[in-house]
Subunit: 164 residues, 2 copies
DNA sequence: GTTCATTCCGACCGCGTTGGTAGGATAAGA
DNA sequence: TCTTATCCTACCAACGCGGTCGGAATGAAC
């Protein structure tokens, strides 16, 4: 499994928050009951989202959480980054779009030829990040509302079956 | 981290195998020493590749492993599938390109609206699988050979930095 | 100003997976 | 028959995950 339940629960939490509108903050208890998730665990998860500035909190009675921005301006790469930390295919993987020293890798001992897997992990990460960046929270809210009705015709990516 | 060292070691093993040409089989010991990887662990990893039909083995003295197919015909989605098993973003994620029942998800209890994260995970998996399918073993071999020379100009995907 | 609902915070903990190791059985060339 | 290699199973420590617990701080309501 790629992501942990932090990403799953956290995104669902965001969706639930966005679904409520932006009137008054929603308590975690309400969300936990609506989604059937453990409250104490959700507390720790929402802290990640707050630290990253995706949600705002109101303490005390009638307090709760609300989106810090409109759902259309929250992309999933932000959310997942906040929830899971840096998403990298491999522990040795360092994105060298910043520091261009060629191949930064713990396996550089095999002198002569560089890290053989670098190209692969770069592409994989690129594909994932691109998919997350073009998905907004607003889309997820809309998607989860019109479920079970008609089939979503606009399939953005060809969806190759891997587990079949 | 998305993948475990199985994928890392396994792909490096394949690259090393492809680099040797297809004359006679290469022993794991040679690969382990070349890549600085634990031999006993490599044995278990190569077993996965063999079970999936990506490598062939020759037992006994002067035995070893060799690619079952030309490197250009081995795509990385096969390799990763053999090494890591089914790659899914989330444990509840089921690819419904086969069985179209709408949203198959363990979180279907929230009646009315479907699984909110389904769209996201579908896109993420699609992006990953696509990236792996278009990457052949031959590419990795070629890539790892011309390392440290000039910069690879043809960057297939825009590679957005996420950990910056 | 007490009460209650809520966010906030840190410690704890069982469990499964990961990344190895150990030891041997089997096969085949010299 | 010795050596080199694949094969196979069991074992193990360390770590992360998913979750709980207990208790602060905070603020609205009465």
């Amino acid at each position: 499994m790629i992501f942990t339940t932090k990403a799953e629960y956290g995104v669902r939490l965001l969706v639930e928050l966005g679904r409520q509108g932006s009137e008054n903050p929603v308590s975690l208890k309400a969300i936990a009951e609506a989604e059937g998730l453990p409250l104490a665990y959700l507390e720790r998860i929402v802290a990640l989202l707050k630290k990253f500035g995706l949600v705002e909190s109101q303490r005390g009675a009638h307090g709760g959480y609300s989106l810090a921005r409109p759902a259309g301006e929250i992309t999933m790469d932000e959310a997942v980054l906040a929830l899971e930390g840096v998403v990298a295919p491999m522990s040795c993987f360092v994105d060298d779009s910043v520091d261009r020293k060629g191949v930064l890798c713990s396996h550089d001992h095999d002198a002569g030829h560089g890290c053989a897997t670098k190209l692969l992990w770069t592409r994989v990460q690129g594909g994932m990040v691109e998919a997350m960046r073009r998905t907004t929270l607003a889309e997820l809210i809309q998607f989860s509302s019109r479920q079970t009705s008609r089939q979503t015709s606009r399939q953005t990516s060809p969806l190759v079956t891997i587990n079949g």
